[in-house]
């Protein structure tokens, strides 16, 4: 089968989740499925380099649309920041769970950029839930071997994730 299970991880009441040494040259396409059970929800993705260091350069870029069942939606874009790729649109009330589905491409190529596409939704305690659909990248030519999930500032998360790689064979 072409989706290969790579890694799973669970966490409880933490502000950030580091997933290290999971991207290798075995795959160029990865899929992250992460869910937050309670707390402030998943917030931002930063990448981790081959030295185990979280990349905090002012170079993360994303473009996304925020979606709301109340009809409020808009664009959320950034051309360069150090807080990462914002993958969740947090509601104005306490979150009650969230899901992130994210495809990550080309993380270990030192001559290429790391790109991603993502969609997420987050539930809320007393307001409408929010969703976000978008794309992002880290243009620096790092070898990326992992990622960090940061929560929205000031909050903790309890959740879990699974990571898969998509196998590609030259069948010609």
């Amino acid at each position: 089968m072409s989706w290969r299970y790579i890694h799973s991880q669970e966490w409880s009441n933490v502000a950030a989740v580091d997933v290290t040494d999971v991207f290798t040259t075995d795959f160029k396409t990865y899929r992250i499925m992460a869910q937050d059970d309670d707390g402030f929800g998943l917030g931002y993705i930063k990448f981790i380099d081959s030295n185990g260091s979280v990349i905090t350069d002012d170079d993360y870029k994303y473009s996304s649309k925020t979606l709301s069942p109340t009809g409020t939606s808009g664009n959320a874009n950034n051309t360069g920041n150090n807080y990462g790729i914002k993958v969740i649109e947090r509601p104005t009330s306490t979150t009650k769970g969230s899901l992130l589905n994210m495809w990550v491409y080309n993380p270990t190529d030192p001559n290429g950029v790391t790109t991603c596409t993502f969609e997420s939704t987050v539930n809320a305690s007393s307001t409408a839930h929010r969703a976000r659909i978008g794309v992002g990248l880290l243009p620096m030519r790092n070898v990326v071997t992992g990622f960090r999930i940061d929560t929205v500032t000031g909050g903790n998360t309890t959740g879990k994730l699974k990571l898969y790689g998509l196998a590609y064979k030259d069948l010609s």
Binding site: S63, T79, G80, D109, V113, T117, L137
Partner: protein, 169 residues
């Protein structure tokens, strides 16, 4: 009974290629086209996707798409009917490692009682503005038809990259 995703075809490109196609879409299931590090010879060369049979692409002007083109300074809603193909990306991805990556799910290409469609997402470095550029959306063909091939053509040559065709089983 098996579950999962099975690769059924590939195209590894190492020199300029204007177009190619995959065969074997002969089951009523969802197919995945996955693009890895696709670099174009020139800037702004879009990718067109069409169905086909017996080696001939269907250029009937019945392709429709509703797409949002994302880039860091903003985003643009793009939609069209009566087109001769679907556009998966308004590509600004060329050379120097700035290729684009993405996926497309092809559905209802078989049998002919339905209308073929596509759901896709892609991203690349926007070399013109230094941001991210992406394309996401849904598409349909406005006739009931069955296709066994997916044809990919480009506004310009594709210089390198890996494109895999998979099916969900």
């Amino acid at each position: 009974m098996s579950n999962g995703l099975v690769q059924i075809a590939s195209k590894t490109i190492t020199s300029n290629t204007a177009s190619f196609y995959f065969t074997g879409l002969t089951e009523d299931c969802v197919y995945l086209l996955n693009f890895q590090g696709v670099q174009m010879e020139n800037q702004n060369a879009d990718i067109y996707i069409r169905g086909g049979n017996s080696g001939t692409e269907d250029t009937t002007a019945q392709y429709q798409y509703g797409v949002v083109s994302y880039y860091s300074p903003g985003s643009i809603n793009n939609g069209a009917t009566g087109q001769t193909g679907w556009i998966i990306n308004f590509v600004n991805a060329h050379a120097n490692g700035n290729g684009f990556n993405g996926w497309a799910l092809l559905y209802d290409w078989y049998p002919a009682t339905a209308r073929p469609g596509m759901l896709h997402a892609s991203a690349n470095l926007y070399t013109g503005g230094g941001g991210v550029y992406g394309s996401r959306g849904g598409s349909q063909f406005f006739n009931d038809i069955s296709w066994s091939e997916v044809h990919l053509g480009f506004g310009g040559n594709i210089a390198s990259g890996e494109i895999g065709l998979y099916k969900y089983v």
